[in-house]
């Protein structure tokens, strides 16, 4: 571990042709904190997220996780080192039960050991136990047998985070966890995130600045592919450049 930072990027860039969606980002996420990345539309948050989770290969720069260079590591091999992600657009196994969704996510940590085809899944007691534990934590136990696609949107968003949690990660990367949630459901999600922040490092991407103010330790504001401002929530809130960036979007 280097100086308590679990995730570090160095001069990270992602270019689509001539357009630099991420343009030289040095991001440092301190272990055990909730770190939010916010910014107006087109700031490069999602592109940055894709680089961090292995969805896109950065065109320049490097990514270090717990001191290890993971810049070119494919998405499925990031679970094993302790990174887990959620999706902005809910991405569940829609026709499978809530419990099976979580059990699969727990099994995913095993990687290729799940190629075992001569044993019953019932023997994977540790996976079932973890799925049940996470289900309890998410208040979804009563809906264990329901197909994920039949849950309410709010519950699907919660399950989305639960899927990441089942990978027993050191760090959770959440892509707009409240996206599409009703105003009444949002506190459930922010409550869950701040609770998760007690035993995980959490990094989240968020469009709506208001949501992250109360739960984040550090906020990074991005604009045009670069880091505009970084600091504690109140510092960021008071910064004139941040206001300008958000107002610029509104204008």
């Amino acid at each position: 571990m280097t100086d308590g930072y679990i995730l570090e990027t160095q001069a990270l860039a992602l270019a689509y042709g001539g357009f630099r969606a991420v343009d030289g980002v040095d991001l440092k996420v301190r272990e055990g904190t909730i770190h939010s990345v916010i910014g107006p539309n087109g700031a490069g948050k999602t592109s940055l997220f894709h680089c961090l989770t292995g969805g896109r290969r950065p065109t320049e720069g490097s990514i270090l996780f717990a001191g290890e260079d993971i810049t070119r590591r494919p998405a499925h091999r990031r679970i094993g080192i302790g990174m887990a992600r959620s999706f902005q657009v809910t991405s569940l196994f829609q026709n499978l039960s809530v419990r099976e969704n979580l059990r699969l996510a727990a099994q995913g940590r095993d990687g290729d050991r799940a190629l075992t085809f001569w044993r019953s899944v019932a023997e994977g007691k540790a996976h079932l136990a973890l799925a049940d534990e996470v289900m309890e934590r998410l208040n979804l136990t009563a809906r264990a047998g329901v197909a994920a696609g039949d849950l309410s949107h709010g519950q699907q968003r919660v399950l989305e985070v639960g899927m990441a949690l089942c990978g027993r990660p050191k760090m959770l990367l959440l892509d707009e966890p409240t996206s599409g949630m009703g105003i009444d459901d949002i506190p459930v999600m922010t409550g869950l995130i701040s609770e998760l922040g007690r035993d995980h490092t959490v990094m989240l991407i968020e469009h709506n600045m208001g949501i992250v103010m109360s739960i984040s330790h550090t906020i990074t504001v991005m604009s045009r592919g670069q880091i505009l401002v970084e600091g504690k929530p109140d510092e960021v809130c008071a910064d004139a450049r941040v206001r300008a960036a958000y107002l610029g979007e509104a204008a």
Partner: protein, 328 residues
């Protein structure tokens, strides 16, 4: 009844139903040879179902594995002096290796391109068999395929020359494959395969290297399909070039879909329906396969779960009506 068939234990529920079917089949059908043919194609459909119904992978390469199994087992017996068990094992191993190679290359593309790649491999296999006529007999087929006695470590166990005795062997092997398939589907591997079918992006995000799982599905499917091909060659003492042709791949896929994807009993039902219908109708009308097209259209449009889905649905409704009738 349906709850019984859905029970989880691999030796309970559905497996018992299959055991009963295996005993009754030769008694209900006009000949044990027809019963053997049904089980052999049911085996191939089962293997196709693992890919299509559970993995969501539509492979038109199944005929390649079936044909390769036929040729390899036959040639091993004719030229290599292989016994029955070694010949069947050799076919299964060769099928597994071949399917792994085809799978390894095909799964690099998704959707329609994946299907086209399996089709291309299948066509290559066909023309290879056609060209190597010195070995395969080309258009005339490979003749005089023996059906050796069943023996183990040089000890002769049974003479299989009668149709009934051969059916017993096929039925025992089918039962083993069926139980094995149930285990595979209920395993960590099987559950992951379903997850990949449902949502591949998420499956990768939770840590699975989806290519490895698809490849293993191909390996297992190829081994079973080639085993079925070898059994078929010994059944008819002959390997027609059709065994490795496009039409074989089509037939296997059609049986799987008509029976019902995602259900193992469906594969048995699909193979049973097609082989029996073919047997009855081909005697009456040489163009009977037109009806097959019609049946496929109707099932795809109106009976999404295939024949087995229809049976399940009918059973459920029947039970509900009876419950209502019994209620005061």
């Amino acid at each position: 009844m349906t709850a019984f068939l859905k029970s989880k234990g691999i030796f309970g529920g559905m497996t018992l139903a299959v055991a009963a079917i295996l005993v009754l089949l030769p008694l209900l059908l006009p000949s044990a040879t027809l019963a053997s043919e049904i089980l052999i194609f049911a085996m191939a459909a089962l293997a196709c179902n693992l890919l299509l119904g559970y993995g969501g992978l539509l492979s038109f390469g199944q005929g390649l594995f079936f044909g390769a199994g036929s040729y390899l087992a036959s040639l091993a017996m004719i030229h290599g002096g292989f016994g029955l068990i070694p010949a069947l094992l050799a076919a299964a191993v060769a099928g597994a290796v071949l399917a792994t190679c085809v799978g390894w290359l095909s799964i690099r593309r998704a959707g329609i391109y994946f299907v086209m790649l399996t089709l291309a491999f299948s066509q290559m296999g066909y023309f290879l068999a056609y060209t190597l006529s010195k070995w395969t007999g080309g258009d005339n087929g490979l003749l005089d395929v023996p059906r050796p006695d069943l023996s183990l470590f040089g000890i002769r166990i049974a003479d299989l020359s009668s149709a009934g005795a051969y059916y017993t062997l096929v039925a025992v092997l089918f039962f083993a494959v069926f139980v094995g398939a149930r285990r595979v589907i209920d395993s960590p591997f099987g559950s992951t395969l379903v997850a990949i079918r449902e949502n591949e992006t998420r499956a990768a995000a939770i840590g699975f290297d989806t290519r490895h799982f698809k490849m293993l599905a191909f390996t297992l499917s190829g081994a079973v399909t080639a085993l079925a091909g070898a059994l078929y060659a010994m059944l008819i003492n002959y390997v027609p070039l059709d065994n490795i042709a496009m039409s074989m791949s089509e037939n296997i896929v059609i049986m799987t879909i008509i029976g019902g994807t995602g259900s193992l009993l469906g594969s048995l039902l699909g193979a049973g329906a097609l082989v029996t219908l073919g047997d009855i109708l081909s005697a009456m009308w040489p163009r009977w396969q037109m009806l097959l097209g019609l049946a496929l259209i109707l099932i795809v449009m109106f009976l999404r779960g295939g024949l087995w889905g229809g049976v399940e649905h009918a059973l459920d409704r029947f039970l509900k009506i009876r419950e209502k009738g019994n209620a005061p």
